[in-house]
Symmetry: C2
Subunit: 356 residues, 2 copies
């Protein structure tokens, strides 16, 4: 999951930001059809409150496109396909657009198939996983999404000290009759981005969430930059980190081995592998039973007043509240976003939107 950073106090109009992102992407050579979902998904990052995966990332995309690491046009190679599945090789086409194509295919096929599964090899960064769940949960469909980067290694096996996988997130959209549950979490204690931001600021972590290169727990984010590097602890840390690593291996098998795009060829840091599966509850016990069970579960969770009166929280609840609030009041960008984009605005002749 992306780290949450405080937003700017200034608010921006969502449609102006969307148009800005689209225009800059087109100016560096992305086809209009491909630029549109890229802009949409970056905006979703900000809307859902995952600001490090919002427009903050646009300048990274613009640089990668300019450097030839993201392709601006082309076709997806279909490796295998059936009515209920597809295995694609995306050759560095934009992740958000490839995911859009997968979403379209799945929404078509799920009308006749109970489960539809798509794997994607070597697309560019897809962004915030949560935003890809909504087209399915909006239609009462369950969605499982894992995606990871075989060019990054930052997590060691339990009992080890050498980075072998990365923070390998797993996401799942669980529709209910009201708001969906949107699980989106990495399988380590936190994401690479969070530790990079601590290291950048020269701060210590709130806890001993890392291991140094000899395997000792530490709160010093600089260990990730040393040679040999330290590693990020798996979810569960010393006592139960083998479980977090187990979930990480699940993500690795689904996102990399199944699409056939993993670590064996020592790839660079610019491609991702994806596993996306959608399940129609109507083809299992049935929609009524499914929603009745979910409503009951959500009701029992909400009935808990919470310790210290803060109430309990369901996955995705804060993100959806952030989206509703920002759609009404304007978008609060990551404080660094306008500054990161200024040189691109100048170079491409696309002025950055003014705050409201």
């Amino acid at each position: 999951m992306a780290s949450r950073a405080p937003g700017t106090s200034e608010r921006y109009d969502a449609e102006e930001l969307r148009a800005y992102a689209r225009r800059t992407l087109e100016r560096v050579g992305i086809d209009a059809e491909l630029a549109s979902p890229m802009a949409d998904r970056l905006l979703d990052g900000d809307l859902l409150g995952h600001r490090s995966h919002g427009l903050w990332f646009l300048s990274t995309y613009l640089r990668r496109i300019s450097d030839g690491h993201i392709r601006g046009s082309g076709e997806i190679e279909v490796v295998h396909a059936s009515a209920a599945s597809a295995s694609w090789r995306a050759h560095r086409l934009p992740g958000a657009w490839v995911m859009d194509e997968a979403t379209r295919l799945i929404l078509k096929q799920i009308t006749s198939e109970p489960v539809v599964t798509v794997t994607i090899a070597d697309c560019s960064h897809i962004g915030c996983l949560q935003s890809f769940l909504l087209p399915f949960t909006d239609r009462g469909l369950l969605a499982i999404l894992t995606a990871t980067n075989p060019g990054v290694a930052s997590v060691a096996a339990p009992g080890g000290s050498r980075p072998v996988i990365t923070t390998n997130p797993i996401a799942m959209g669980i529709p209910t009759r009201s708001e969906p549950i949107l699980v989106d979490q990495c399988t380590s204690v936190a994401s690479n981005a969070l530790f990079e931001s601590y290291a950048e600021r020269g701060e210590r972590l709130p806890g001993q969430w890392l291991l140094d290169a000899t395997g000792r727990p530490t709160d010093d984010p600089q260990v990730l930059r040393q040679d040999p590097p330290g590693t990020i602890q798996s979810l569960g840390q010393a006592d139960f980190g083998y479980k977090g690593f187990g979930f990480g291996l699940m993500s690795e098998a689904l996102s990399l081995a199944l699409p056939g795009y993993g670590r064996r060829d020592n790839p660079d840091r610019h491609g991702q592998g994806v596993f996306l599966q959608v399940i129609d509850p109507g083809r299992f016990a049935g929609t009524d039973d499914y929603f009745d069970e979910l409503d009951h579960l959500v009701g029992s969770i909400r009935a808990d007043p919470g310790v210290g009166g803060e109430g309990v929280r369901l996955p995705g609840e804060r993100a959806l509240r952030s989206r509703a609030e920002q759609l009404a009041d304007g978008i609060a960008l990551h404080p660094d976003t306008p500054g990161r984009l200024r040189p691109w605005s100048d170079e491409l002749g696309v002025p950055f939107p003014r705050p409201r």
Copy 2:
């Protein structure tokens, strides 16, 4: 995942134990066809080293059968079915047998479908999840298995103190060209069974793995027996327990909501819901690419000498070693197993096997 208890020093012959389990199950009214997989899966629990889910559980099964909580014969109700899916309602038929039927169906359908998914509502206890993965990994297939019990609540939502779900395990069998990776882990710090065994022995836990009824961390297993009860911490505990709970919700949605057998009707403790999905890597990037990636990953993990020279460990490795060793040298039962079964041996006239 089942807790690991030390085995007895005496060793038993696997075939004698299997025949014993089958005969006692048949004597209390289980059809021969159904008793056979029940005995096999209980034996698998011991073989794989999950002794609390081995023959230790046979006496529980015998009591539940006698009490009418497990049915000895009958048919599975098919709620929905397609070439790639089935949704079954098992009406308390033996979990191990229902899983055997699901395995047979999947192995047939996966020859023409890339992904086959079966959900099961209301079967009896299925036992050790890991043992159900092997028929698939042996054939180079990925298997995802979640199963849980809607009549047990022991885990609270993050920030809460009321038990709303249980320890909701998630398992995945990941085939490689050598031994498979067999992930099988609950989404809380540990299983209900572990805490029950500590409470039974009157011991404190090694860490503050529980919350008391007011939500305060504690190492006292007795809090789970109090009224109102304490709860088991989700994987990740104070800082990151929201992630463990997120995984728990995934298991809950797949194992209970999808099969339509959850908590809304306040069921007793004798039924389970199951989600079992099998994926053929040959229908995605292809078998060669899949295995090449997995072999590379496993190789890089094994290249880590481990901190303190203990080496690193892959999920399922210890279980498979335990199985190989016990198949060669005889089975080391949970120390309580012979004693738990003695009254049943007497009542049913089936003598318990002698140690080798």
